[in-house]
Every structure is written in C-alpha cells, then in structure tokens.
Amino acid sequence: MKNRLAVIGGILVLLVFVLSIFAPFIAPYNPSNIDIKYILVGPSFSHPLGTDDLGRDVLSRMLWGGRISLEVGFVAVGIATILGIFLGSIAGYYGGWIDSLIMRAVDIMLSIPTIFLVLAVIAILEPSIINIMIVIGLTSWMEPARLIRAEFISLKEREFVIAARAIGATDVRIIMKHVLPNGLSPILVSATMGIGGAILIESALSFLGLGVQPPTPSWGSLLSSGKDNIEIAWWLSAFPGLAILITVLGYNLLGEGIRDALDPRQRE
C-alpha cells in the first residue's frame, strides 16, 4: 500500500521534472507571445488549456512556469538544508552554551509567524526569483537543524566516534566524515517534503503579487491572474493550481516512501 503510494509519488515527481526540463521543446507556443485575437479563450484544440487576458497560451506558460517553481523549490530547500545542517551539527556536537544559543534562535524563529518574516524580508529585498529563494530558505532551516542536532546527540557517544577521537581526528573531520553521513537520513525525508512546501510558499507569495513578477510565469503568478479573471475564465485558475497540487503531492508521497524505506521501524 505504502510502497504503491511512494511509486506514484516518484512518477509524479519525474513527470513534472521531465515536462519542465523539456518545456522549450514541448510548449506549443512561445509563453510570452501576445495574441489579441485569442483573449481569454477557453480550452480548445489549438489552445488545450485556454489563453489568458493577453491571449497567451496557458499550457505553454504552465510548462515554463514549472521550471521557475521547481527552481525555487530546489534552491530554497538547498539553502535551508545547508544552513540547518551547519547549525544543527554545531549545536549537537559541541552542546553547552553554543547549543543553547542556536536552539534559542530556533525557538525565536519558530515563534514569529513565518508569513511576517517573509513579508518583512520581501519588503526589504524587493520581490524577485532569487530573493524568494533566499527568503524561503532563511525561514525554513529550523526543522533540518533540529533533526540533525538530535542525530548528532545520539551519534556522538557511539564507539566509532569515540574511536575516531581517540586516534586524534579533528572535530571537523569527525563531524564531516563520521557523524554527518550517519545522520543524514531524516534530512533526506524533510528535504523531499520541503520541496513541496517551498513550492506552496512560492505560489502563495506570487499569488499575493510578492513573488515571481509578471510577465515571468510561475504557477503562483498564473493563479494570481486567474484570481482577477475568476468570474469569466475558470481555466486560468484551475490548471496552474492543479499543477501545484500534483507536484506537491508527488514530493510528499515520495518523502513518505523514503521515510518508510530508511526506517523500517515505523512501518505499520
């Protein structure tokens, strides 16, 4: 049962990935091609998913938008994971005051509503694709940090670590070569699901007009123009949202599958 879901997740992830990578070859139209003869036309043979308020082809814009959304997801999670691993390893390995300091920082970050942090940082940085990645990364490193810290605390007293220390390995070497590789599996799960989460945040921000800016297509910014035309053109909202749902679902299912594979104890 679980495995089947994980396979479905993997297929969804792969499908979206391939479609996005080959967008330039698959997309039937140029995504920024304005055609005033076809404004807000519903799904038809020539435009399978309809056209938007400037006559641009929705399917083509979604395929190109997928590249942006995936890019944001991967880079944002990359930033969060690296930051989380760095801070979590230090906190877990050294303990003491530096651990308290980092964990209090985690508490503070978790107590401030994410939406405020994101809004405030966007207000400073101006919305752009790069800044969205940075903002999402900077506001979601807490979970990986906690996970890695817990792994370090349980691993650092094991014999192989003590043996490494006994033969005079440096702290950096112990952390990088001995502890970290053994403590990475929970991170893998959280990062996989994090990609889905980051795509959701990006779409929400772009929807509010604070993320990817038009005319660049992303699924969120497509939905944003869908909102403005909701009364006359349902296809502008329905399809990009469906793309988000399918992608995020894929990463969540895949994450569950990885969790199951890595940790047989939790199997039901």
Binding site: M1, R104, I108, A120, A123, I124, G241
Partner: protein, 323 residues
C-alpha cells in the same frame, strides 16, 4: 513540576526579547520609513515636512534608542498609535480580532468534529477501503494550495451556481434586513472561508488521530481489556480513545497563535477585513507600531501555547515526567 514550570517561564523572557529585537530590526532595516511610505505619492511634501514626520515617528533616532523607547512603552502594554491614522493600535486590533477569531474557532470546531471520527474509523479498520481513501485524502489535503481551493469554490458556488457570496463578510446593503436576515447574510459569507481554512487542518488532524489510535490499540492494556471480554465498543471508545486523544491537547495548544493570527492569503482571497490583512498592510506601510502590536502578542501566544501544551500533557498523562 513546579520547578519545571518556573524554569520554562524564565526561559520565555529572553526568547520574547529576542523576538522583539529580531522583528523590530527587520522592520527598521526596510528601506523607507513610515514617513516615506506615507509621502511616496505626494511630490509636494517638502523636505521639512518629511523631517517633521520622521521626528514624530522617532525615525531620526538611532536604532537602539528607538527600540528602547518602544520596549519601555510595550512592557506597560501600551502599543502606541498606528502611523497611518493616529488611532490606537489596540483599538485597531480589537476591531479586527472578532472576525478572525470567529472564522478560526468555527473552522477548528469543524476540524475536530470531522477529523476525530475519521481518524478512529481509519484506525479501527486499518487498510480497509475507508482507510485507504482517507490516506489518499490526507495527502491530497496536505498538497492543496488553500487559495486555489478557495478560487475554485468561489467560481463554482459563487459564480456558476450563485448560491454563496464570494467576498467580504456582509452584503453591501443590509439596512433593510431584519436581525435574522442580517445573521443569515453573515453566516452565508462565512461558509466558504471557514470551510477552506478547515480543509488543510482536517487532513493533518485526522492523520494524527489515526496514528495515535493505532499506537494505543497495540498496547497491552487494550489486549487486557479485550481479553477480559469487554465489548469492542467499550474497548475503542473508553479505553483506547481517551489515551489516543491525549496528544491532541498538544495540537490544540499549538493552534493557539493561528486562531488569532488569521491567514493573510485567505483573507485576501475572500476580502475579509481580519488580522492577516491588518498585518499585511502594516508591514507594507512600514507601520512599526501596528506590526509589532500584532506580532509580539502572536509570538507570545505561540510560546504560551507550546508551554501550556507541555504542562497539560504532563497533567493528563502521569507517565510524562517533566524536568
């Protein structure tokens, strides 16, 4: 236990201070203070007028002085005045709070009402059709962008079928309506926002109940209860459910800040004048007093919620020992 409570409360002080410093710092880092945000569109404003406004807001002072002034007032629960209209921050918040509170409490109630039976059902019939269906629903629920769901429902129920209003919290003209008419008008406006905000929570919560229930059903005392011949109903609803619902307290504690926080995005989609919208406006007009007035209480509630959840958990479960 008492020592633990005191320790936790003392620990909250530096965290709260950290929260205020961080959010105050981020707000001040933003280019353009409230004076600029207000005068951005009036080219006529002279340099002197700008300077006067900056002085009025204290923006000419160095950061630490501004923070100290703000903190001094804040500890006496004086949130100051909003820059935009000079009204008290407290009044502005109290004006927005009821609608956000109503929507969130209703949706939390709805979540509990639906999620607990679903969770029990799929746990007691693990791997049955209904369990598979809810598992799928949970994943889909987690992955659905709430604002997209809102848009679809607005289109279908509001535009296509025209059975529900699509935005705001009341009709434009309610003067001719009776009290009952006004109430039902208001209720109609709440249906979609409450449903959409419940949807996401529903998935997570029913999963949570299911997993707890499965965990409990494997325990020895359940086997004992069955072995001594108790009817299955009694085993499930009396012995298992009570223990399975205990961790739910934690979730209730954790949802405390969300109840007053309001969702920026849902309030935008549905045009609801709630807390989320207020925060959004405050951040973008650099209204420091207003933003901090919303944010710090929300952050405080987050910590309080965590704290209460831990304490309540320890009280209800004698196996939990807090140190």
């Amino acid at each position: 236990m008492l020592i633990y409570i005191i320790k936790r409360m003392l620990l909250m002080v530096p965290i709260l201070l950290g929260i205020t410093v961080l959010s105050f710092g981020i707000m001040r880092l933003a280019p353009g203070g409230p004076a600029e945000a207000q005068m951005e569109f009036s080219a006529k404003a002279s340099a002197e007028a700008r300077e006067r406004l900056r002085k009025l807001y204290g923006a000419d002072q160095p950061f630490y002085k501004q923070y100290a002034t703000w903190l001094k007032k804040f500890v006496t629960l004086d949130f100051g005045e909003a820059f935009a209209d000079g009204r008290k921050v407290k009044d502005k918040i109290l004006e927005r709070l009821p609608i956000t509170l109503t929507i969130n409490l209703l949706s939390l109630g709805l979540v509990l009402l639906i999620a607990i039976p679903i969770g029990i059902m799929s746990a007691t019939r693990q791997y049955s059709l209904i369990d598979r269906f809810t598992t799928m629903f949970v994943f889909v629920g987690f992955s659905t962008p709430s604002f997209w769901l809102a848009l679809l429902l607005i289109y279908m129920l509001g535009v296509q079928w025209g059975v529900l209003p699509i935005s705001g919290i009341q009709s434009l003209d309610t003067t001719g309506l009776t009290l009952w008419g006004r109430l039902s008008d208001w209720a109609e406006h709440l249906i979609l926002p409450v449903f959409v905000s419940a949807f996401g929570g529903l998935a997570g919560f029913s999963r949570y109940v299911r997993n707890n229930m499965l965990e409990v059903l494997r325990q020895d005392y359940i086997r004992t209860a069955r072995a001594k011949g108790l009817p299955e109903k009694k085993v499930i609803y009396k012995h298992a459910l009570r223990n399975a619902l205990m961790p739910v307290i934690t979730i209730l504690g954790l949802s405390l800040p969300g109840i007053i926080g309001g969702s920026v995005i849902l309030e935008t989609v549905f045009g609801i004048p709630g807390m989320g919208q207020l925060l959004y406006q405050a951040v973008f007009s650099r209204d420091y007093n207003l933003a901090m007035g919303i944010l710090v209480p929300a952050a405080f509630l987050t910590m309080l919620g965590n704290f209460l959840a831990d304490i309540a958990y320890a009280f209800t479960d004698p196996r939990v020992r807090l140190r």
